[in-house]
């Protein structure tokens, strides 16, 4: 009798330990995703910090293209007002396409290509866009890893029990997925 009780106790202990490590694993992965998302947001912030400088340095030259500046300002306001990750992602995508248009316009102004200040701002902007795509790709990799874990048996039972839901990927619009080419 005593022996079987011991076996049952050992079994429960092993089960408990394995549940605990599964649970902790899910928590870690979920935290990593949040951390990676913070990285993405840092790069977004960096982009927003650059925009006013860029706009100020080229605004006087682009007298005909005031529309694109309006779009950038609007998308920027929307981003600061966004509360959820999805809303932020959407606003960021809008900034991206407005910026892409601005970059095309800048490329069409030869007199800007010898302007050192504009050149260095464009370098910073291109670098930031590239950083965003790198951090976003890493974010998606971690979401994929987490989602796979959550969906697989037997972790899925555990995930259901403790409400570890699937996480959403960051879907960038096709044109914005790569850093814009800046040729000066």
């Amino acid at each position: 009798m005593k022996k079987s009780l011991l076996i049952i106790l050992a079994f429960v202990a092993v089960m408990g330990l394995s549940l605990m490590s599964t649970y902790n694993g899910l928590v870690t992965k979920s935290q990593n995703i949040d951390g990676q998302w913070a990285q993405v947001e840092t790069q977004y912030q960096r982009r927003f910090d650059l925009i006013p400088n860029l706009v100020n340095s080229v605004k006087g030259i682009f007298t005909q293209e005031q529309e694109v500046f309006g779009q950038i300002a609007e998308a920027r306001t929307r981003y600061s007002g966004a509360q959820t990750v999805d809303a932020k992602a959407e606003a960021a995508t809008q900034v991206e396409s407005a910026l892409a248009r601005l970059l095309v316009i800048v490329e069409n102004y030869p007199q800007l290509q010898s302007n050192k200040a504009v050149q260095s701002l464009m370098d910073e902007l291109a670098g930031t866009e590239n950083r965003i795509s790198v951090e976003r790709k890493r974010f998606n990799d971690q979401v994929r890893d987490y989602n796979t874990t959550v969906k697989r048996f037997p972790t899925n039972l555990m995930a259901n029990m403790f409400n570890f839901d699937e996480r959403a990927y960051f879907e960038a619009v096709e044109q914005a997925a790569t850093a814009p080419k800046v040729e000066l």
């Binding site: 990285q39 050149q119 464009m122 910073e124 291109a126 670098g127 930031t128």
Partner: protein, 214 residues
């Protein structure tokens, strides 16, 4: 999955200079290797110079990030590595900067090095000078100096003398350090220096730097 690239599969760093495209002359390669080795010995930063034949359809930015990740250029907790990647087939290049060097080697400084130092030489098909001058410019920026333009080749002899003295001093210090550490010591040739390369140290980058074409 766009960072997983077949073209990097099985590529292991054999030194600070990895000339897969074979565009650097052997003498310059040996000299640059020694230079980069002493640079790491004196500053702890790691600068990798890599040439690839082709990008196989990927972008130079993605390839640089993937290579940086695969090799872990820079020290693990310091992320103080830099990668200079040159791809002659697509005529594209990228300076990829480790996280902690981003405030010093900014995107705009990296862009200036590409535009003013490297690509003017590449346009004359002078890969040796373009790569060597580019590496020196990166090292200079990391040491807090201004970027010297490589417009005329002969009009900065003064700078060159200072540079040579600098290299000699660094090499001397480095050799002394090796001696005291009980390493092989003495004067060794570039070739045997190469064998002391033990791989990069696990640093990471996040897409900072600049890219360009020529």
């Amino acid at each position: 999955m766009f960072f997983v690239s077949l073209l990097l599969l099985g590529k292991v760093a054999t030194g600070y200079v990895n000339d897969y495209a074979e565009i650097i002359s052997p003498a310059v390669e040996t000299k640059l290797e020694t230079r980069l080795e002493s640079f790491t010995a004196s500053t702890g930063n790691e600068l990798a110079v890599v040439t690839l034949k082709s990008l196989e359809g990927d972008t130079v930015e993605n390839t640089a990030v993937a290579l940086f990740e695969q090799w872990g250029i820079g020290q693990k907790d310091k992320d103080n590595g830099v990668l200079l990647l040159v791809v002659p087939n697509e005529r594209e290049l990228k300076i990829e900067v480790g996280y902690s060097l981003e405030p010093v080697l900014t995107d705009s400084r990296a862009g200036t090095i590409i535009r003013d130092v490297i690509t003017p030489k590449f346009k004359e098909n002078d890969y040796d000078s373009g790569i060597t001058d580019g590496a020196e410019a990166i090292i200079a920026v990391l040491a807090g100096q201004e970027i010297a333009q490589s417009a005329g080749t002969n009009n900065y002899d003064g700078g060159r003398v200072v540079l040579i003295i600098f290299i000699m001093v660094i090499t001397f210090i480095w050799l002394m350090r090796r001696r005291f550490k009980g390493g092989p010591g003495g004067f060794s040739s570039g070739k045997s220096n190469r064998s002391s390369f033990g791989g990069f140290s696990g640093g990471s980058s996040g897409g900072g730097g600049a890219s360009g074409r020529w």
